[in-house]
Every structure is written in C-alpha cells, then in structure tokens.
C-alpha cells in the first residue's frame, strides 16, 4: 500500500497484489551434482566429447546424445566473455547495488555461464576481465551459493 501525490490536489491510491507459487523441483543427476558441488565450494562441469560444459547439461547440445555423468572441476576463476550493467537493481536481483550480469567462461570450461559480477562500477567491467567467485558462508546447494563474482586481485 502506498500513496502517491500528483501535484497538490489529487491523491492517488495504489493497491499491491502479490501472486505466489512455491515450487519444489527435482534436480536430476546432473544439476543435482552441480548444486552439490556448489554446496561444497566446487564448480563442476561435464565432459561432452573433448569439451567441458559449465553449467553441466544432461545432453550434448551438438548431437542430442545423453552425456555420461563424467564431471570435472573447473575454475573457480574465469573470464568475462560478455556482460551488461544493471544500474537499478530490483528486489529480485542478486545484489542490492549496481552490478553486471556477465557470461563467465571458467578456467577449464568451454562454455560460459551467467552470473552476477560485483564490480562496483560500470567502468571496471570489460570483456576479457578476470573474475573469481565470492562464496556464501552458508551454502544450500543453489546457484546463489556463489553470491557473485568479483574482479580478480581486488575487491570491488
């Protein structure tokens, strides 16, 4: 519930309606292993031929063949391959201050994964920059067990 004043005369009232759906989902053997790894501060990829996919997939995106559960630890540091800057984070964003959403190719991986980069300023973001994860102390087996990535060799 909030009140907005328009000029000096008209008072507009707003109501807020929230719709909520809680889901509980099974993760399967591949994402389950990936999340178990995060809980244990390890980032796991999966071998697909001579490539390593991170995050791991259940199927080879090139051939559609099921992948064997052949996991390999990657990172934890990596390289930003693309990014955009969020100037006004919403309540739902991973950080409460301006940050970058980036594609990050972790060391040892052949694909990039999306995560937040707490760079402090858009001026510090650039393609090719090196980043390293900031882990949460209390990890639950979720993608945000990594709170965000930060520029390597210096906090934001």
């Amino acid at each position: 519930m909030q009140c907005v004043l328009l000029g000096a005369v008209t008072e507009l009232r707003a109501t807020t309606h929230t719709i909520e759906f809680p889901y509980t989902r099974t993760l399967g053997p591949v994402i389950g292993s990936f999340f178990t790894g995060l809980r244990d501060r390890r980032i796991l990829g999966i071998r697909a031929g001579d490539r390593v996919l991170v995050p791991p997939l259940e199927y080879d995106p090139e051939t559609g063949d099921a992948l064997k559960p052949d996991f390999v630890e990657v990172g934890p540091a990596g390289t930003v391959t693309s990014w955009s800057w969020v100037t006004k984070p919403t309540r739902k964003h991973p950080l409460d201050r301006p940050f970058g959403f980036a594609l990050i190719r972790l060391d040892g991986a052949d694909t990039a994964m999306v995560h937040a980069v707490d760079a402090g300023s858009i001026d510090r973001m650039q393609t090719g920059m090196r980043v390293t994860p900031r882990w949460r102390d209390e990890r639950k087996g979720r993608i945000d067990d990594i709170e965000c990535f930060v520029p390597e060799g210096g906090a934001a």
């Binding site: 507009l12 309606h17 719709i19 759906f21 809680p22 999340f35 178990t36 809980r39």
Partner: protein, 189 residues
C-alpha cells in the same frame, strides 16, 4: 529440501542435493480507480454502492466506471445505493486442501447473494452463523459488517471484486421464509 510440513530446510552435511525450492512471485501495483475509491468510502460507512447502466439497467458492484455491454462510461450520476440484505441464489461448500497460502481448515461456504431491490449481485460471500450443511438457495440473509473501528478497506483495489471481508464479513440468515427459486432463477451467477 523440504520436510513433510513443507518447510524449507537447509541441506546439510554430505548428502547429495536432489531438490530445489523455487518461489515464484509476481507483484502487481494498481492505482485505485475513482469509482472503487468511492466504493471503499461507502464500505467504511457500512454501505454498498454500485453503478447502474442507464441503457441496460445492469447493476455493477463494485462500480467499474463503464458498462462493457453498452460501452458507455458510468460515473457518480449513475451511482445507486444498494440494500445490504438479500437472498442466497447459489453456493459452494469448499473443503480446503492445505496448499501453500490456505488459511481455512474446515469446510466453508462461498455464496452468491442477490441483493434486494434495486439489486446487485455479490459473489463469493461467506455465510455466517449457520452450519454449512444448512445453507440453501433461497435463504434470506443480511450483511454482517465489521464493527466501525475495525473496518479496513486498504486492500480493496480494482481487481478485488467481491472480496470485501475487511469491512463486509459476510452474510447471516435473517430467519425470514425462504424465497422460491423462480424469484431469482434468472439471476443465478
């Protein structure tokens, strides 16, 4: 992970992570329309108001500012006072399933109430002071208003429809004789 009561629990120790919780949330913010603001003010006085279309004579409660059938705008000049008593035209007994957000634990009634002239239909109303099994179509009922100091219309917006329980708690039997079905069968909602 989730325990049997549906509470989120932290994955602990060395067990593999097999499940995830995902909480989808959509928030809508609406500026309350002028007719609904007037409707809210009336509810604070324990009154029901509506708009009546001058062409088709349909009664819109809550007032919506237009008649969608005749595509005419409605405003304060089309406003009418409604009765706060009427008849149950039809009803459903809901046996609550304990899904997320469910507050009810026992079977309850949601009834459509055709108000006395000049008319108007309130849907999804609670029927109070009578066992669920004794509710029937044709039963005469009157509004049960929240006490003056307890009325709250802050949550009533353009999408609230007949959900008015902050001010209008529901309806209770008046004890008058039931009305025959023919008296309202053309208005069952």
């Amino acid at each position: 992970m989730t325990d049997t009561a549906g509470n989120a629990t932290t994955t602990s120790g060395d067990e593999p992570v097999t499940m995830m919780e995902y909480f989808m949330q959509l928030e809508y913010s609406d500026v309350v329309s002028a007719p609904v603001m007037r409707f809210r003010d009336a509810l604070m006085d324990a009154r029901l108001i509506a708009q009546q279309c001058p062409k088709c004579k349909l009664v819109y409660v809550p007032p919506k500012g237009y008649c969608p059938i005749d595509t005419v705008e409605l405003d304060e000049r089309n406003e009418i006072q409604l009765a706060d008593r009427g008849v149950v035209t039809n009803y459903t007994v809901v046996t609550p399933v304990q899904y997320y957000g469910q507050k009810e634990t026992e079977p309850f009634v949601r009834a459509s109430i055709l108000l006395d002239p000049p008319g108007g239909m309130l849907i999804l109303q609670d029927v109070l002071d009578i066992p669920v099994a004794e509710v029937r179509a044709g039963m005469r009922v009157e509004a049960v208003w929240a006490p003056k100091g307890e009325r709250d219309v802050d949550e009533i917006g353009n999408r609230s429809g007949s959900a008015l329980e902050g001010s209008l708690r529901g309806f209770r039997p008046t004890g008058e004789p039931d009305m025959p079905a023919e008296a309202f069968s053309d208005k069952v909602w």
